[in-house]
Symmetry: none
Subunit: 188 residues, 4 copies
DNA sequence: AATGAATGAGGTTTCATTCAT
DNA sequence: CATGAATGAAACCTCATTCAT
C-alpha cells in the first residue's frame, strides 16, 4: 500500500478543501484548493486520486467528527431523556462552533460527487446516535416508524435549529432547548 | 408581424431544464438543456437572458406550483387542525407525485445561482402556509419562537416525510399521517 | 433590379451604422446597427446583402462625401497654390466638423471587410484632388515620384493635422495653416 | 522543480500571433494562434492571461524592436541632418525587411484591445527618435508646433514611404531618399 | 515525492444570416 | 416588404488530470 509520506500535507489539503468549499461550494477548482493548502497543483493528486476522492474523504471526515462530537462523554448512566439532550446539545455545539465545517458538510451532502457508498458509510457513523434515538422512541407514538425516518427527522431538526442559532447567537441556549423540547414532544 | 415568441417553446425549455437538472443537477450545460427541450442551443438565450435567469425562473415556477398545490381548495370553514392537515396532505401529494420537480427544487434551493431576491420572492409565496402555521402554533409551546423557525421545521418535516414515501410508496398514507401527527405534537 | 422601396430606411441603416461604428468599431453587431437605425434586425438584410456589403457601401459614401467636400466651390480661376490651399482647408473643415464620419472612415479604412474593389473605387473618387496635386508638384522636387505616393503623403498629412485640430480646436486655423505650409514645402 | 516555463514556447506563441495577425488581423481566434505556434489551445493561457494580454505584449515587443532598429548605431558625432537620415533609413529598412511585423503593428495600432497604458509605454519608446526630431526642427518653420504633431507627421511619412517601397522594391533607395528629402523640407 | 506546465474537452454566450408569420 | 425568432458555428477561457523535470 503506497501510502504517501506526509500526513501533514494530506491534512493540509483536506483543510484547504474545507475552507474553500465552505465559501465557494464544491465547484472550486482543484487549483484553488491546492493553493489554499499551500501545496502544488499536482501534489493534490498524489494524495487523492481524483477530485471526487478528495470530496468523499472530506465528507466522511466531517461526518465522523460530527457524530463523535455528539456522543463524546455521553453519560450512559443517566436517564434516557438526559442522554438524548446531552447528545442534542453537543451536536448543536459542534455545528454552531464549526460553522465552516457545517457549511461544507451541507454543500457536500447535496453534491453529486458524493457516492452512494460514502453516504452509506456516513449513515453507519450515526449508529451511536441511532441507538439512543431507538431507545427514546421505543414506547412512544413513533415506535412503528422506520428508524431511518426518525433519524432523518432528528437530523432535519438539528440542522434547522443550528441555522437559527447562527442567525441569532444570543439566543443559542433558548433555541437549543426549544428545539430539544420539540423533538421530545415528537418522540414521546 | 414576425413569428411570435412561442409560449410552447418557452415552457419546453423550462421543462427540459426540469428534467435534466433533476437527474444531473444545476450544472448541466445549457447545450444539454436545449437538446432536452428540442430547441437549438442559441434559442435558449432568446427566451432567457442567461443560464442564471433560466434557473431562477424555474425555481420560482416550482415554488409557486408547490405553494399553490398545498393550499388549493383549503377548507377555510373547518377546524384549524383539519386545515393544517389538508395543507400537509396536499403538500406531500404534490411532492410525491412530482418527484422530478421536487428533486429539481431541492437542487436549486442550494444552488448559488439563485439570487437573494428570488429567495425572498419564494418566501413570500409561502405566506398562505405561514398564516396557517401561525394560527396553529399560537397557543402552544412554540408560540414564542420566530415564525420562520417553525416554518423551517415544517419544511424539513415535509421534506423528510416525502423522502420516505417515495422510498416506500405503499405506505404513503401511513407515513403521511405519522408525519402530520409528529408535526402536530411539536406544535401543540 | 429589385431595388427595395424605401430610400429612407436604407439611409437610416447607413446612419445607424455610422453612429455605432464610430463609437464601437466595425465589430458592432448587425443587431445593434439595426436598433440604432430604428429598423428591425431582419430588414437590414433586405437593404444590404451582408454586413460586409453594408460596410463597403458606407465606406464609399463617406469617401465620396469627403472628396466632394474638399473640392466643392473650388476657385478654378485662381492661382494653383490658392486652389490647393482651398482644397486643404475644406478637407480639414469637413473632417473636423464631422468627427463621427471621420472616425468611422478611419475604422473602415483598416477593416478587412473592405474589399480591394472598394478601395480602388475610393481611390478614383480622389481624382479631382489628384489632379490638383499633380499640377502642384509638377515642377518641384517630387515631380518624378508616383502620383499615388504624393497623394498618400497628402492624405497622411491631412489626417494627422485633423487629429491635432480635434485635440485642440482653439488652434484650428493655426494648425490648418501650419499643415498646409508643411505640405507646400514638401511639394515645391 | 517542475518543468520550467519555456521561453521558447512563449516566443512561439508570440510568433504565431505575429504571423496570423499579419494575415487575418487581430480578430484571429486564440485557437488559430495556438495552432500556428504549435501549442495547445490551453497552453496559450499559461503564458498570457488573456488574449488582450498577448496582444499588448506583442504590440510592445514590436514597437520596441522598431524603435531599437531605428536608433541602433546612431552616429552621434555627425551632423544632425546625417543622424536624422541615418535613423530614417534604418527605420525604413526595418519596416521593409519585416513586412509581417509592420503589418501586425499596423493592425494592433488601431485595435481597441491595446490599452492606453500600452500606448503610453510605446510612446516612451520613441523618446530617442523624438529627441532627434526635436533638435532637427528646432530652428525651422515647425519650431512652434507641438512635438507630438511633428512626430506624428514623421510616422505618417515613414509609413507611407514604406508602403511604396514594398510595392516597388526595386526603387527602395530612391523612395527612401525622396521621402527623407520631403521630410527635411518640411522641417527646415 | 514535489512541482507546475501541458493538454484539450467543454462551458456559456454572441452573432450573421435565414425564414416563418 | 417587415419583423424578430431560430439557428449553430465559433469565441474565449477554465479545469481535472497527466507528465516532464
Amino acid at each position: 500500500m503506497a501510502r504517501p509520506r506526509s500526513a501533514d500535507k494530506r491534512s493540509s489539503i483536506l483543510s484547504g478543501a474545507l475552507h474553500t468549499i465552505a465559501s465557494q461550494g464544491p465547484s472550486v477548482s482543484t487549483a484553488v484548493i491546492a493553493q489554499a493548502a499551500g501545496v502544488s497543483n499536482g501534489s493534490l493528486f498524489t494524495y487523492f486520486e481524483t477530485k471526487a476522492d478528495l470530496l468523499n474523504t472530506l465528507y466522511l471526515d466531517l461526518k465522523a467528527e460530527m457524530a463523535g462530537a455528539a456522543l463524546k462523554g455521553l453519560p450512559t448512566d443517566r436517564e434516557l431523556r438526559e442522554q438524548l439532550q446531552f447528545m442534542w446539545a453537543h451536536w448543536l455545539h459542534w455545528a454552531t462552533s464549526s460553522p465552516e465545517k457545517r457549511r461544507t458538510l451541507a454543500h457536500l451532502d447535496v453534491s453529486d460527487e458524493i457516492t452512494a457508498e460514502s453516504r452509506k458509510t456516513a449513515h453507519e457513523m450515526m449508529a451511536g446516535i441511532a441507538r439512543l434515538l431507538e431507545a427514546s422512541r421505543a414506547h412512544g407514538p413513533m415506535q412503528d416508524m422506520p428508524l431511518a425516518f426518525v433519524l432523518a427527522l432528528l437530523s432535519a431538526l438539528a440542522d434547522t435549529t443550528t441555522d437559527f442559532i447562527l442567525r441569532d447567537p444570543a439566543k443559542a441556549d433558548e433555541h437549543c432547548e426549544a428545539g430539544f423540547n420539540a423533538l421530545w414532544r415528537m418522540l414521546t
